[in-house]
């Protein structure tokens, strides 16, 4: 029998942390990777997030995805201010477009990213957390410190704006093509 409660506590703590890390580290990297230049930097920032989690971890109540993403959001902003001084996420996205498999036409992606840029920063965040990070409305609400109902309302409105913008850009594309072929 282990008579050393501190040792047992430490072992439990480490075990809980490792499970949390294995389950969520890549999700946090993917969140950060949308906004920084490369995967190595994204992993460095995610490592910072998990270092903070390690410092603050209570084994009986480990951190969930919303806390990790929220902390990653702050660390990423801090990194951008420190390293790139406000580089728009679109730059990182634009550079990575060529690295991605051609599942989508580049123009579709650019049209979508341009449409996203027209949303308010908070609405962009809601859409991205929902579709790219796979968070539920409740989890998005926890990350952004909003009410769940407000998340639903804003998501609904943002999707309507995106549809309109994409329809407009498609129409422009078709007209542009016509103009060029005349």
């Amino acid at each position: 029998m282990n008579t050393n409660p501190t040792g047992a506590e430490s072992a439990l703590r480490e075990s809980v942390f490792r499970a949390m890390f294995e389950q969520n580290f890549v999700r946090v990297v993917r969140y950060v990777q949308r906004q920084v230049a490369d995967r190595a930097t994204a992993e460095d920032i995610a490592a910072d997030v998990f270092r903070i989690a390690w410092e603050k971890l209570e084994p009986a109540d480990p951190f969930g995805v919303p806390w990790l993403i929220r902390t990653a959001m702050h660390r990423t902003r801090d990194h951008q201010r420190r390293q790139y001084r406000g580089t728009a996420a679109l730059t990182a996205i634009a550079r990575r477009i060529d690295e991605q498999p051609a599942e989508l036409e580049h123009l579709d992606r650019f049209a979508l990213y341009a449409a996203l840029q027209k949303l308010s920063p908070k609405d962009q965040e809601i859409v991205q957390l929902t579709y790219w990070d796979g968070l539920s409305a409740g989890e998005v609400a926890s990350v952004l410190r909003m009410r769940q109902g407000a998340v639903w309302t804003r998501l609904h409105r943002a999707r309507a704006h995106l549809r309109t913008s994409l329809d407009d850009s498609m129409a422009e594309g078709v007209n542009g093509e016509r103009r060029r072929t005349r």
Binding site: F17, V26, A42, E55, R82, L104, R159, R163
Partner: protein, 326 residues
């Protein structure tokens, strides 16, 4: 476009390339092992508190009491950021200010782009829960970046020269113990590893600079958003003066640039300031050297209460100042 098509497009457009359903890589395992190998600071702190001799606690309390009772011990003035630069109005027009750079492009300064830059920078400190912190002393960092065509390189960040946040006290408070020049962080990157956004600065023609800025910051009322890209470029490259002129020309595609006048920047250089409104109730001040015509700095200021940081209007939340590498 219907709802299903939009949902499908959104899900498939996630720019993150790290696979979600694969086991941790060797590097990721190493990160996890490094974290758990380091005991949490809070626990180390608790252990230290227990071990602290009682006499030391008494001494510490005595020091605190003396400090509180000492009427001459005035607290240093705290601020969210450095005092904004003060500009003297100039008879020069915006166009003339920008033309300064073009005039010098062929005859002076950097004639070939150099991979790397030296950046003196500061940004508002934010705690882990996102709360901004006030400070009595502004402590900039100096980052030297050198990299090669194969994307290997080195980045060294050291302590810059601190200054008083209120812009009044010349003498630094006594806690300014870290000597300027002390290395804070040093990173070496192997081939292909340096996180460079613009691997080839020679590829940009004047029209491509315009296209780049307008792609990233399409709203012509918000040139400050485009300055973000300029800042990134100038942090990765020491561009030629002609390229600086091209960048400034590209910025004139925007509608709301405003000449502020002349000032002296935080490195003591004579500069012209150009205000560029940005999204999120912010404004970026672009600084152009009166001596060289080159873009030498940018400062980011909050204009209203809508900024996500929640700091008061008029707060300078970050600045970057570039020095040429040769």
């Amino acid at each position: 476009m219907n709802d299903d098509a939009l949902d499908d497009l959104l899900r498939r457009s996630n720019p993150a390339t790290t696979p979600l359903d694969e086991p941790l890589t060797v590097r990721q395992h190493a990160i996890m092992d490094r974290i758990v190998a380091d005991p949490p600071r809070s626990r180390r702190h608790r252990a230290w508190q227990v071990a602290l001799p009682a006499a030391a606690v008494v001494t510490a309390l005595a020091v605190v009491v003396v400090w509180i009772l000492n009427p001459f011990n005035a607290a240093p003035a705290m601020a969210w950021g450095p005092t904004p630069l003060s500009f003297v109005s100039s008879p020069m027009t915006l166009e003339e200010a920008i033309a300064l750079t073009r005039e010098r492009a062929d005859s002076e300064g950097v004639q070939e782009p150099v991979r790397g830059s030296t950046i003196t920078a500061w940004n508002l400190q934010v705690t882990d829960d996102g709360t901004p912190r006030r400070a009595a002393v502004i402590r900039p960092s100096v980052t030297e970046i050198v990299w090669a065509e194969d994307l290997s390189g080195r980045m060294v960040t050291s302590v810059g020269v601190p200054f008083s946040a209120d812009g009044v006290d010349e003498q630094m408070p006594s806690d300014s113990t870290v000597e300027p020049g002390t290395v804070l962080d040093e990173r070496t990157y192997g081939p292909g590893e340096f996180p460079i956004l613009f691997p080839d600065a020679t590829m940009f023609t004047p029209s491509q600079f315009k296209e780049l800025l307008l792609t990233v910051a399409p709203d012509r009322e918000l040139p400050g958003d485009a300055v973000g890209i300029v800042q990134t470029l100038l942090s990765e490259w020491t561009l030629t003066t002609a390229q600086h002129a091209d960048l400034l020309d590209a910025l004139t595609e925007y509608d709301s640039l405003r000449l502020l006048g002349t000032s002296i920047d935080r490195l003591g250089r004579d500069v012209i300031g150009i205000a560029a409104p940005a999204s999120g109730d912010r404004e970026v001040t672009l600084l152009i050297s009166l001596d060289t015509g080159r873009i030498v700095g940018a400062e980011d200021t909050v204009l209203g209460q809508n900024d996500a940081l929640g700091v008061p209007a008029g707060t300078v939340i970050s600045y970057s100042l570039w020095e040429d590498r040769s």
